[in-house]
Symmetry: C2
Subunit: 256 residues, 2 copies
């Protein structure tokens, strides 16, 4: 593998360039990019120019650097998330029509929830979830479902780590978190009023593949008021519907 | 830039590895991958192993190589298509609910339509469109809209190239194609019964950004029968709705 004088591979530098982009950094100047990816400006410039030649990066009208359409296309047409998304989408659309707020599908990635699909509408309640965005396991309804059914070592590791509060309602006590995970396993539901935003309630259920293994969490984000519980039956039904389609229709195309 | 003995850069080899994947090749063996990307097996193996370390590729249970979740995440969270998709999605969802068949959004990429979003349902009529998939400009309703409003040089180049028939109804005559492009510019509509599949009619309208520039085509795929024309008014209204949101709400986040 080609390495710089620091012994670092060329590919690791390319990976760092892409890690410098994000939902709030979709377009960055070359010097910001060099700084955010911790690369010398000349190195960043050379790599960026070659990636632009391949359509993997592009420059916008202000000459800022952006992710290229070609890279999105290559990642998306064979996306590891596509099978799960295709199976889940029609049922998510029905749930979204009924609930009227955001509906999302999340998977466990590293120690966070990675959201692979989100349906929303302009009047939906405030929601920090973005497609391809991540949120902490202990603070979100999807994350709690994935953690409750995740590997025991992951649970112990999260329980032993600082539990950051996003609002005064986020679970920050390891004892309460342990009890909550047990309750989620018993009830099949994570109900999280005000954990991420005080105005919103996140509610999540597991999505199971053939054999009962949990591969994703389906969640809704609705206003944090007395009516929030009314979304629960439709969410349960949708989670069961997606799980049933996995068990029968498409086990081989499943993510993870 | 690091180059192999053939003078080819490392990045160009990485790009070729990703080009070996596709909707019908989501998981490939290492030797298939080496063959499809025209790389020596040892080179492919070394690159694949490093890309797996970064989560940019992964191995499935059969040890076949797949695109990694991390690469999808990096490409998607800053996706150049995200602004257009976010603006268009609620209106596409309404159109999908009314029409009951597939609804898609395509942009001009190279000499093809690249579909950046597709809403469908299990009972929708047969449709070859996939998210991040491509189809030829002359054969699809979206492609004809994008070509009709595209650069003059592109039109002349497509008119001078062989026009491949996907069905007996695909336009294959340059004279008919030229007349059809003119009609699309006059009427604001491409109506394509049986062009891609004999059983389906594709219908497309332009999506305009501020200033009237056409940035995408919105299309439906409905059964090829006497009722197909009933989808036209809803499609026209949806195309105007998305264009209006672009003109006012989000010009800076637009794709292209």
């Amino acid at each position: 593998m080609a390495r710089s004088s620091s012994g670092e591979s060329l590919l690791s530098r390319v990976v760092r360039i892409y890690e410098a982009f994000g939902p709030d950094h979709r377009a960055v100047t070359l010097s910001e990019l060099a700084e955010r990816s911790d690369l010398p400006l000349a190195t960043a410039s050379r790599l960026v120019n070659e990636l632009i030649d391949y359509g993997w990066l592009r420059r916008d009208a202000q000459r800022r650097v952006c992710v290229g359409v070609r890279m999105w296309e290559l990642a998306s047409r064979a996306a590891p998330t596509l099978g799960l998304r295709d199976v889940a989408y029609p049922i998510m659309a029905d749930l979204h029509a009924v609930v009227g707020h955001s509906v999302q599908l999340g998977v466990l990635q590293d120690r966070e929830v990675l959201y692979i699909e989100r349906l929303s509408a302009p009047r939906a309640v405030r929601n920090r979830v973005r497609v391809a965005g991540r949120l902490p396991l202990h603070a979100t309804s999807s994350g709690l479902v994935l953690l409750a059914h995740g590997p025991r070592e992951l649970q112990e590791s999260v329980l032993a780590s600082p539990l950051r509060a996003l609002t005064p309602h986020t679970i920050t006590s390891p004892d309460l978190l342990r009890a909550t995970l047990g309750e989620i396993r018993r009830t099949g539901l994570a109900y999280c009023p005000g954990f991420v935003d005080e105005c919103a309630t996140g509610i999540a259920v597991p999505v199971r593949a053939g054999g009962g293994r949990i591969v994703a969490a389906l969640s809704v984000v609705v206003p944090n008021d007395a009516s929030a519980r009314t979304a629960v039956p439709a969410l349960h039904a949708a989670g069961r519907g997606i799980s049933r389609m996995f068990g029968t229709a498409a086990p081989a195309r499943m993510v993870v």
